[in-house]
Amino acid sequence: MQQTASPTPIVSLRDVQKSFGSLKVLDGVSFAVERGEVLAIIGRSGSGKSTALRCIDRFEKVDGGEIIVCGRRVDLPDIDLRALRQDVGIVFQSYNLFPHLTIEQNITLAPCSVKRMGLSEAKALARKVLAQVGLEEKVHAYPEQLSGGQQQRAAIARSLAMQPKVMLFDEVTSALDPELTGEVLKVIEQLAADGMTMVMVTHEMGFARSIADRIVFMHRGKVHETGPASILTAPTTPELVQFVGTGNLKS
């Protein structure tokens, strides 16, 4: 092991290939995420950015290449999915809270069922993560009683309760009104400040620029350009120039 010289990345993709039928969605995608790093994946619809993110948590099986997450080979068929998903938290565009459970039950379900945590300990944990996203007063509410922004913050809290080593955000503000987007982005910003390792697929260019340590611009299933957030203001490839130039860069 050579961790001391250069720390092993928490997430690394190497030459990942993925097709849906005859459609090649990922065509040799490689990138890595170091501990504590915030990586934003941007690109047009259909560029493969969401698929790349979902491959990290093995919601999609890859056709080729290598994915290593927290030291596990995710591309291999014998991957321990439950162990992987305890290390990786994922938040979706459509929140996906469980509608038959209160916010508290949504949060305590996985710690109690998966980690065998006691109920009182799990409830205390629920209060702690809800405080992190500013929703302590909604502990006994049902998801349908919350606004979209509140539901998404609750979904983030639910993921946090499993104490993941890396969080994946899949266009988490795309279903929200502009005024609700802000409250969710603030929560993510705070997580970044606390040192959480994060990979996010986002259409919020201004947000990506302000929060991401590194940007991956995907185009036609490939990583077309990558670099620090400054590439958004000084893009080098014509495709990224066009992408950020089409009014996407609002800050």
């Binding site: 948590d57 919601f59 999915l81 439950r82 162990a83 998903r85 305890q86 990786v88 938290g89 994922i90 979706f92 459509s94 929140y95 996906n96 809270l97 469980f98 509608p99 038959h100 379900l109 996985a110 069922s113 998966v114 049902y142 349908e144 979904a155 639910r158 993921s159 499993m162 279903a175």
Partner: protein, 222 residues
């Protein structure tokens, strides 16, 4: 023979009605137990299990209940397995109801939005935990109105058990009529009793359907 409808006839019909309720309950409980297994088998990750359960459903749904009843009673007797009318009727109805409830419940489980499965998977819940704690509680809400509605079908279909000599409401009506020769009066009473058993269930099913929606996933987000 002959005479007028008296209290003894009515008591006899009442006794038959109780057996109709009893047979309906047997069909419901047996059919629910087997149907639950069928529903799970229909969405099993194993292809062979899916195919087998699908074949079961197709065969039963493509066979008249009357034929299943004859097979269960006369057919088994012909190959040396003597069954009582109660056992034959109970088993045949269970086989029949299981195929339909299995399909209703498979549909209900599958109509829980897929992102719910993914969210549960993302939280590292096992397949059993996902099913028991996330999917089934939501599927039950979806399944309740059609299940209650199907119970009306079960009650009415128990009348077919009369052909294997099981004395439920229909058969007891035939027996009473054989002594009175007043088919209109007797069968009108039978019809009224069936209606009295089925109508409240129909109403209940409609009420449940109207109440649906609250507490379920917002379809706009699913």
């Amino acid at each position: 023979m002959g005479g007028h409808l008296n209290i003894n006839h009515l008591l006899f019909l009442g006794h038959g009605a109780l057996w109709t309720i009893g047979l309906s309950l047997i069909a419901l409980v047996g059919g629910a137990a087997v149907g639950f297994v069928i529903a799970l088998a229909r969405i099993s990750p194993l292809k062979s299990v899916r195919l087998l359960s699908a074949a079961y459903v197709q065969i039963v749904q493509g066979t008249p209940l009357l034929v299943i009843l004859f097979l269960g009673y006369f057919g088994l007797a012909a190959i040396g397995l003597q069954t009582s009318p109660l056992v034959a009727a109970g088993a045949s109805l269970t086989i029949y109801v299981a195929a339909y409830l299995g399909e209703i419940w498979r549909g209900s489980i599958q109509s829980v939005p897929k992102p719910q499965w993914e969210a549960a998977e993302g939280l590292a819940l096992s397949r059993t935990q996902r099913m028991m704690k996330v999917i089934l509680p939501q599927a039950v809400r979806i399944a309740t109105p059609p299940t209650v509605g199907f119970m009306v079908q079960i009650i009415k279909n128990t009348s077919l058990a009369s052909v294997v000599g099981f004395v439920e409401l229909m058969r007891s009506g035939q027996i009473v009529n054989n002594s009175l020769f007043e088919p209109f009066v007797v069968y009108a009473i039978i019809a009224a009793v069936y209606f009295a058993m089925c109508y409240p269930l129909s109403l209940f099913s409609q009420k449940l359907e109207r109440r649906m929606g609250r507490g379920s996933v917002n379809p706009a987000l699913a």
